[in-house]
């Protein structure tokens, strides 16, 4: 295989994995606080359309990303009100959020369906980008790819090296103990949930502003759900989220692999497109086969409503 093909496959894999990293890391934080938000697909869809529409109207990529972030945060705020303040069922509410977000984004996005945004130049890091094979994939990327790495670093530091991170984990493990030593459990869960929504919004905006860059109804295509599965697959550890996201990125660009291999294989495109979904199922089976792995690593209060009696 030619090195340029290898390089471009690596490049595509990293790009495809980026939205998954951003969204899954956001959900990781929310889940660490004990909140299971299955609405990622809806929040990403809203982030995607808000990002696209605002970039298109203002001509500013960064306003678009900010708008996407705000849209995702707003959706997760809605979710938080229902499940944290009104103690609604987290599974059902997350589902409602997904349905609402996918529908609302299709509705808002109708006028933008035939529009296209200008391609955004990659940021080349001098010298490093010239390294053969890995130079382009690692050092000549879109800004949000670098952002995803910074986010990873920040989250690792926050969760395992900072006091607020410790508090967050305590809230997820045992909300009643955290409450009894004086931490505002509900407020912390609000913040974690909204952070998750904001990241889902950025992930969505990455798709519509950087990746495609256009808006099509249903363009998120299950990535929100895959991100949720990734968090389980990663057993709630940031590093494994990164690895998993790139694995899925690789599966998503399988079509490129087949074209690049130069082999005369006649596989229907639909089969290749279904690989990420099948891979998700397989990966979930592997990880949940051993019940203890999931049980030991999942935040204890995940999905459980909590209300301090006071």
């Amino acid at each position: 295989m030619e090195s340029s093909i290898l390089s471009s496959i690596l490049f595509a894999t990293i790009v495809a994995g980026t939205p998954l990293i951003i969204v899954a890391l956001g959900q990781l934080i929310a889940e660490k606080s004990g909140v299971l938000n299955l609405g990622a697909e809806g929040m990403m869809s809203m982030g995607a359309i808000a990002g696209f529409a605002i970039s298109f109207e203002t001509g500013s990529v960064w306003l678009g990303v900010l708008g996407g972030m705000a849209a995702g945060a707003l959706m997760s705020y809605l979710f938080a009100v229902v499940v944290l303040t009104l103690m609604g069922n987290q599974v059902a509410t997350g589902l409602a959020l997904s349905i609402l977000g996918v529908g609302l984004s299709a509705f808002i996005g109708k006028p933008y369906e035939s529009e296209i945004l200008p391609t955004i130049e990659a940021i080349r890091i001098p010298l490093l980008a010239d390294i053969p094979i890995i130079g382009e994939p690692l050092f000549a990327q879109q800004s949000l790819v670098y952002f995803s790495w910074a986010l990873f670093g920040a989250i690792v530091w926050f969760l395992y090296r900072s006091r607020p991170g410790l508090v967050l984990r305590a809230v997820g493990e045992s909300p009643s103990s955290a409450h009894s030593i004086g931490y505002p459990v509900i407020r912390i869960r609000y913040m974690a949930t909204i952070f998750g929504g904001a990241m889902a919004g950025i992930g969505g905006a990455f798709l519509s502003v950087f990746y495609t860059p256009l808006w099509v109804e249903g363009m998120v295509a299950g990535r929100g759900w895959i991100a949720i599965a990734l968090v389980v697959f990663a057993t709630w550890r940031p590093f494994r989220v990164m690895v998993g996201a790139y694995l899925f990125g690789g599966v998503m660009v399988a079509q490129l692999f087949v074209q690049g291999s130069g082999l005369e294989i006649n596989i229907p495109s639909q089969f290749l497109s279904s690989l990420p979904y099948l891979a998700t199922i397989i990966v979930l089976v592997i990880i949940s086969r051993d019940q203890n792995t999931v049980r030991l690593n999942a935040p204890v209060s995940l999905g459980q409503p909590y209300r301090p009696d006071a």
Partner: protein, 356 residues
């Protein structure tokens, strides 16, 4: 200030009033939505909720659209009662539709009732097979059924896309991604001869609601699933098999969704295309929740949800709004319902600040 106070016991009244509150809130939300879009809210309300059912044809279309929703929702409700979350009815509908279409296309030259009967069986089995995947993985490997059933929706959409672009494509269809039109023997008979499109599937839906009611409230298995839904540990202590409930829950949902898929291809569509489902599998989840997982409620909630579909079509036609506005109403309804459910277990109290 206002605060929530736990009720001594759950309010029975509120558990029925909460869907009504949610519907009212959705309607108010709709008025705001129309106003926000620069349309006259009253006019929008009329186009969306009144016009679709202002004549007999409209009512018949309402029944037609409500049919798959009733079928799927009653199947899902059986599982939801035991906290078996089958979210992939959309995929099970598609696979049921594929299986039924395969029968219809195989028996193209054949006359007689056996074609339809085989299509019904194929539809149910197709849906059950698709639902058996999450059931097997859940019982064997403890894999989350929400994510698996949902992933299979995407797979089924790609599967039907491949089929109508390939093996099932109409050879004389100018390369359109659709099958040949079915013969009359593969079409469900219409119930009325006044030109309306309501067919035998509506009778199936009513039958399914009755059967669902009997299963839920008159059978031991239904009782076990109810107990498991309320108190998992109590059910385990009583020796009820959790595996069996997972299988029953998912297969019931799969069979009904598959039947709904059969009813679509054999009813209003008369062929299979990659647009086989209009999101019925997801809308039925909302129906089941709004109906409090009760078959009687499912009947009415399906009619309401069908009205949202028709309203969306009208809004597209007369107000130049995208028909996806239906989805916005659907999502709002479910979110409002889940929010107002708080009043089942809590009540609002006005209490003055106590100064210490």
């Amino acid at each position: 200030m206002l605060r929530l106070e736990r009720r001594p016991e759950a309010s029975h009244l509120m558990s029925y009033a909460s869907p009504a509150i949610a519907i009212v809130l959705m309607l108010i939300g709709g008025l705001f939505l129309f106003a926000f879009l620069g349309k006259n809210p009253i006019e929008g309300f009329k186009v969306f909720f009144i016009n679709p059912i202002s004549d007999l044809w409209g009512v018949s279309e309402l029944l037609l659209k409500a049919t798959p929703l009733m079928l799927i929702a009653v199947g899902l409700a059986i599982g939801f009662r035991a906290n078996v979350w089958n979210i992939g009815a959309e995929g099970q509908l598609i696979v049921g539709g594929i299986a039924a279409s395969a029968v219809a296309l195989y028996f193209q030259e054949s006359e007689g009732a056996h074609v339809l009967i085989l299509m019904i069986i194929a539809g149910c089995i197709g849906g059950m097979l698709w639902a058996a995947i999450p059931a097997f993985l859940k019982t064997r490997f403890n894999t989350n059924e929400i994510l698996v059933s949902l992933m299979l929706v995407y797979v089924s959409q790609l599967l039907v896309s491949w089929l109508v672009h390939g093996p099932m494509m109409d050879p004389d269809g100018f390369n359109f991604p659709q099958s040949a039109m079915f013969e009359d023997s593969a079409l469900l008979p219409l119930l009325f001869d006044d030109g309306s499109r309501v067919n035998l599937a509506f009778v199936f839906a009513i039958g399914a609601l009755l059967a669902g009611y009997i299963f839920m409230f008159r059978s031991f298995a239904g009782f076990q699933m109810q107990v498991a839904g309320f108190a998992k540990d109590a059910a385990r202590y009583a020796g009820f098999s959790a595996r069996r409930m997972i299988w029953i829950g998912l297969l019931a949902g799969g069979a009904m969704a598959g039947l709904a898929g059969m009813a679509e291809v054999s009813g209003p569509m008369g062929q299979i295309t990659d647009q086989i489902s209009s999101n019925y599998g997801f809308a039925a989840i909302i129906v089941a929740f709004v109906a409090r997982l009760n078959p009687v409620g499912i009947f009415f909630a399906s009619l309401l949800m069908a009205l949202l579909y028709l309203g969306g079509e009208q809004a597209q036609q007369y107000m130049n709004l995208p028909s996806s506005i239906s989805l916005v109403f659907q999502g709002m309804l479910l979110l409002f319902l889940l929010g107002s459910d708080v009043f089942i277990n809590y009540r609002l109290r006005w209490n003055r600040e106590v100064t210490a």
